[in-house]
Symmetry: C2
Subunit: 453 residues, 2 copies
Amino acid sequence: MTAIAQLAAALPPGRVLTDPDVTDGYSRDRTFLPPGRPLGVVLAQSRDEVAETLRWAAAHRVPVVPRGAGTGLAGGATAVEGCVVLSVARMTAIKELSPGDEIAVVEPGVITADLDRAAREHGLMYAPDPSSYEISSIGGNLATNAGGLRCVKYGVTRDSALGLEVVLAGGRVLDTGRRTMKGVTGYDLTGLFVGSEGTLGVITEAVVRLRRAPADPPATVAAEFPGLRAAASAVSAIIAAGCGPSMLELLDRATLQAIDDWKHIGLESSVEAMLIAQADSPDSAAVAERMRRLCEENGASFVAVSADPAEADELVGLRRLAYPAKERLGNCLVEDVCVPRSALPEMISAVEAAAARHDVTICTVAHAGDGNVHPVFVFEHGVPEPPPRVWAAADDVFRAALDLGGTLTGEHGVGLLKRRWLSLEIGPVAEEVQRGIKGVFDPLGIMNPGKAI
Amino acid sequence: MTAIAQLAAALPPGRVLTDPDVTDGYSRDRTFLPPGRPLGVVLAQSRDEVAETLRWAAAHRVPVVPRGAGTGLAGGATAVEGCVVLSVARMTAIKELSPGDEIAVVEPGVITADLDRAAREHGLMYAPDPSSYEISSIGGNLATNAGGLRCVKYGVTRDSALGLEVVLAGGRVLDTGRRTMKGVTGYDLTGLFVGSEGTLGVITEAVVRLRRAPADPPATVAAEFPGLRAAASAVSAIIAAGCGPSMLELLDRATLQAIDDWKHIGLESSVEAMLIAQADSPDSAAVAERMRRLCEENGASFVAVSADPAEADELVGLRRLAYPAKERLGNCLVEDVCVPRSALPEMISAVEAAAARHDVTICTVAHAGDGNVHPVFVFEHGVPEPPPRVWAAADDVFRAALDLGGTLTGEHGVGLLKRRWLSLEIGPVAEEVQRGIKGVFDPLGIMNPGKAI
């Protein structure tokens, strides 16, 4: 009996898929990166099935590629040759939702927006909201420490993770963290697993923090600018004035054009950038007016303020269309640099310079309030990998971000995509330490090998 | 030449102290735990001096006990026999304070309240504020992941730590994290060092996050209750109602009595507990009124609401006197359990039951909004160690916290004090993993040996 057949026999019927036509769909995330061929795909339905799979994998020295909803943008879930893809997408239970403790206990396959909706029935919310939150799952969000639109006010996924149940390489179960708001017993293993991209173990349950949802609908500001740098300056002014926005998103002309071509939003020709800001504080109307004024002072050609939830949903919905709109233009290399907030205008200029220097179409959106810029490098449909001029432009952008005191990745992770730049950012001592930590958890080197570190 | 003389010769003059009368003062924190005798104390003034000390320590296999301001409550800085105590208290530079980026770059010896004051000159604040913040330093706050009064709204020290410079055992320098609000490059080494109690390395610089200081003074609520459980119920009601207090502190009768005996605050005999709550949101007056009503509905006998900063400072000042007031009563074992918010009334009852069962004086204060309870076990002045009945009562309290889904330590750390209970909370797999991580950073086992894990 082959190794994969032994695994299939050890798990309940139907858990292991080996038909290449089927497993191919589980071998990629949302990057263009070409996957290796997996031996099979496990659709685990419980912690014990995850543990059984990891015991088997250790015994047979088979690499394991953990997988949530497969919406990653860095190749973290891209299959490697001869691996087993271990999907937790079917583990979708919200096991507990405690309004009194403001926590939820969830399985990793829970879709992020579903948890948020469940929390809102109790006046709470699950704050982290990556653009993909209607299709991505908590497990993947934890594995990549996903950010999102609201994290300018409410923090990233790590800030909402209190405790984890993790199956380690070899199948042992580790509980980390706690159910309490605070706790300092031992090293912060929860924080270590969040963002570790499946290289240290497989998260099978999480205690996450919920937050009180604002009582009233947010006030929303939409501002159009004749130039991208002017919009970036408005962002710096809004942060420096202490407005405390709950969302502060920047879209450039190319992104707006792509959305307009698709959804016909009536984009005017003079608009080079748009800011979408929200305030959800008790004085949101006053904050929105302050943000309006700061936009105008920084050159906005038109600013609209609204407290109407339907209008707000429409605007934020536009922002969430940014990626799919760009994917209509061509294949996309989606990047994710993050710089100190004050360096946003310089970072925007560096992106524009890279586009011009290498003759590449770059559409940029940004979680601008965090200095987190997503330049999307568009190349031809049907071309499997970015051509050299795209990589050259990306290299310019990465180096500019580091020169400005920034980082290669604000929220997507390193995955496969950015490993070749990793040492530019973290240096040899950190690389050695990270390999040491990896060795503690995965001495055989079979957990998502080649990713993240 | 002895080993310590070699170290003294390698460092600038005056850095190494060996006179036992002097070194004794650097051998303890604020616990009663009896220290070992150090070979000497190093008063480092730079990262390079820390590195020189750690190179020497590795070469001579001398244990190193890192030390900030020495205000810890768990024995984390208690000297071990034959160690060198490495103090960073003289590294007090605020190297950078950037209002635009909302960050500061600080050396570890900076007093926490000094950083907060420096930030407020720019309309910002450094949020973490342990009760000791006028005498404790950032380095120690980071090493223990200190909490405080404001962390019910603004999070603990880890939530404000973006990046660190750490000298590792053997003297190599590691940079972790970033200057940006977000970043997911590699494992979260910053989070791993925060709360590691000097067992993995010595923090020599930190990039910390500043937050916008509220524009207006907070509204303060002081409520007196005829019973401790009633006050705890009011806390649960305030949290469940989504008031979002920026402070929610609970003091029991014994604590109030100790403060009254010292400062003559006019405490009435019927008062068994007091809540001190603050709201610093733009609608703080309305929130304070809501909190007043909830206190009254839960049995408060008297509630005062004030927007006067001087009155607020006085009340919060009282709260910060809780520890010194109790130290006048006797020697203190200060405990630090944390439970899920809804379990606060049960935790309070368990503390009261332990006091009665073992005939021990327990004064309790709590960062109630976080479920973080500090029962202080008072025993006779002059008795160096807690008598068995105190340990028995503490054991009851620890087990009750764990039974309620809580943790042994919310913000003080494990240190020496709680190591014997550690395995009750984290279990054998986590213990093994933590020892593995320790081994990566400190293969010789000389960094603050016997502490934390």
